[in-house]
């Protein structure tokens, strides 16, 4: 079936357009899960979520349940969460602590590194093919990498090496760690989860789209204007949520000055966004803490980078200046789950870290005044592409004269989408080796 020409990347992707079927074909979706999501690196979680040996955090990679689990020696392993006996899911809790992992069906137990510890009635296997000591009976570990606390895993044996995959996009992660006065981050403040009624790629293709805010977000921009005027008249300062919403009211000229940088493997980041800084006293006390911790020059360079969002293809996006982390989980060809986490800067004033919670509530919570209009448009694209395959989706904007090597563009260019499809084509046309 996959040899079928209709599923070859060449038939679906042109340098500046893609066939509507990439968003609507369920067979293609299964192929993507296998060829993209098992072969690329996926963000799994943050090391601070499993501080002590035996602590685990459950998530998914390429639609498989996995456990990020801290070992005795302090290393972090990512294991399949599926019993080697009859395949039962071992852990259902989102996070917890274990001495051993014990399957609740027949009681096979595993060490936190996935090695088999014990099997009830071991002599039942005497003279059988099942070697109860063999490494094949453990919970398989994924290849994993811990980049300054951000933990990634790859399911397939084949695929890019981690350093090669991350490449220059790492600067956003470096910047997040560098923003902590004590040089450390931790996940804090809980998780928000949002369901989108669209293919996973529709979401990734919106993240540096500077053409949409003024149109899509007209309702929240309009609703925030009276509050902005009132706050200015009454107190002289504008509340943070109002400022955040007003960020979408930037002119095309401002959005055209946002610098978007593309990286190999589909990653990209965008810098220069007018980020709200509502309470200058709070910001100043944070900056003072950062200068004390990291030195004045380093602190200023760190704050100056100002990345609004960085996307690590295919499942991870961060917003360094507000310590926001988003993880994408494709549920089906037209359904996507986004998990949202907030990071706390160690050594920063509590008042400053609380701005990250306000940002999450304002932008990423299901009740956001901004987000429903984005999701409405993603869904409208989805129902449009599901109407038939004759349609080619345009990614042409600012493609003229684009050289393959040019990595820099603006938020008014669809270059970052073309860059995502270059990676898509590479993953999808690679042979099935393992």
């Amino acid at each position: 079936m996959y040899a079928d020409n209709r599923y070859s990347a060449d038939a679906l992707v042109r340098p500046d357009a893609v066939n509507a079927r990439v968003y609507s074909d369920a067979t293609l979706f299964r192929l993507e899960m296998h060829r993209i999501f098992t072969r690329s690196w996926n963000y799994v979680g943050h090391a601070s979520q499993v501080p002590k040996p035996g602590d685990f955090f459950q998530t998914e990679v390429a639609r498989r349940s996995v456990l990020m689990i801290r070992q005795e020696d302090g290393e972090i392993c990512v294991l399949r969460n599926r019993c080697g006996h009859r395949g039962a899911r071992i852990v259902t809790a989102r996070h917890g602590h274990c001495g051993v992992l014990r399957c609740p069906y027949h009681g096979w137990t595993y060490h936190p590194d996935g090695r088999l510890k014990s099997i009830p009635l071991p002599d039942g296997y005497t003279g059988t093919e099942l070697d109860v000591d063999a490494s094949t009976e453990r919970l398989p570990a994924l290849r994993s990498a811990n980049y300054r606390g951000f933990v990634f895993a790859r399911l397939s044996r084949t695929g890019p090496a981690f350093e090669d995959w991350l490449g220059g996009a790492r600067r956003a992660l470096d910047n997040m760690v560098d923003r902590a006065p004590d040089g450390e981050l931790e996940v804090a403040g809980g998780c928000l989860r949002a369901i989108q009624r669209n293919n996973w790629k529709v979401y990734l293709e919106n993240l540096h789209d500077g053409m949409h805010p003024a149109v899509v977000h007209q309702s929240s921009i309009a609703a925030s204007q009276p509050q902005q005027r009132k706050a200015l008249a009454e107190t002289g300062t504008v509340p943070l949520p109002v400022q955040i919403i007003q960020g979408n009211a930037q002119s095309l000229r401002q959005l055209g000055s946002l610098e978007v940088t593309c990286y190999p493997h589909g990653h990209s980041d965008m810098r220069g966004f007018r980020e709200p800084r509502s309470d200058d006293a709070v910001f100043d006390s944070y900056q003072a803490a950062l200068e004390r911790g990291q030195g004045r020059d380093n602190a200023l360079a760190t704050l100056d980078l100002n990345i609004h969002n960085a996307n690590f293809y295919p499942n991870f996006s961060v917003h360094p200046s507000f310590m926001q982390v988003r993880v994408l989980f494709p549920l089906s060809v037209n359904r996507t789950l986004i998990e949202h986490w907030t990071l706390r800067l160690k050594g920063a004033p509590d008042e400053f870290n609380r701005r990250h919670i306000v940002y999450a509530n304002t932008v990423h919570s299901p009740s956001s005044l901004i987000k429903p209009d984005d999701l409405e448009m993603y869904h409208r694209v989805q129902v449009g592409v599901e109407e038939g395959s004759g349609l080619w989706i345009s990614n042409h904007r600012r493609a003229e004269g684009e050289e393959d090597g040019s990595r820099s563009s603006t938020a008014l260019s669809e270059r970052f989408i073309r860059n995502q499809y270059r990676a898509w084509g590479q993953y999808m046309s690679a042979e099935d080796a393992g």
């Binding site: 949002a194 009276p226 509050q227 949202h340 956001s368 429903p372 999701l375």
Partner: protein
């Protein structure tokens, strides 16, 4: 209003009736989309809170599904009534059913009264319905001659689950 007889005895009949009227109007105005009248039931320094985890105690260091002061409530109402929200192009309708109001506490210093009531709500938009269920906790406070809601807390049974957008107050 139901509740512990000793607690109930601390409120006179008129106060109980006024609080009952206030809470009945609260969900009724939501269902009728009468948002300015709905907001008028709230005290000046009001809060509307929908926690994101069961038993959540803190909305400052932890994310919430909604955590709004009066300014944010006004902003949501402006968007709901502004006529320019793409995601509200198709009408969104809600209907609440509420259980008996239960007097849960009276603050001896401020006179603020805590009332809980179970609810179910059905929301309809674009040929789809979805259900909400849980517990309302109201903190109502005497303002001049009337009672006003200072805080409404909504504990959804599925508060830590994933959600499609929540556009209207629950």
């Amino acid at each position: 209003m139901q509740g512990d007889p000793q607690l109930l005895a601390q409120l006179d009949d008129a106060a109980r009736e006024k609080i009952q009227w206030l809470l009945d109007r609260e969900t009724e105005y939501l269902d009728q989309g009468r948002y300015p009248e709905w907001l008028a039931l709230y005290a000046a320094d009001c809060t509307y809170w929908v926690p994101a985890v069961p038993g959540q105690v803190d909305a400052v260091d932890h994310v919430s599904l909604f955590f709004e002061d009066r300014a944010l409530m006004e902003m949501r109402i402006a968007r709901l009534t502004g006529g320019d929200a793409h995601s509200l192009e198709l009408p969104l309708r809600v209907s609440h059913v509420t259980g008996p109001a239960l007097l849960a506490g009276i603050d001896s210093e401020t006179g603020e009264v805590q009332v809980t009531r179970r609810f179910q709500a059905t929301e309809y938009q674009d040929r789809r319905t979805r259900d909400f269920a849980g517990l309302f906790t109201y903190y109502v406070t005497p303002v001049n001659d009337a009672w006003r809601i200072r805080t409404k807390r909504v504990d959804l049974v599925d508060c830590d689950g994933p959600f499609e957008p929540l556009q209207v107050f629950i």
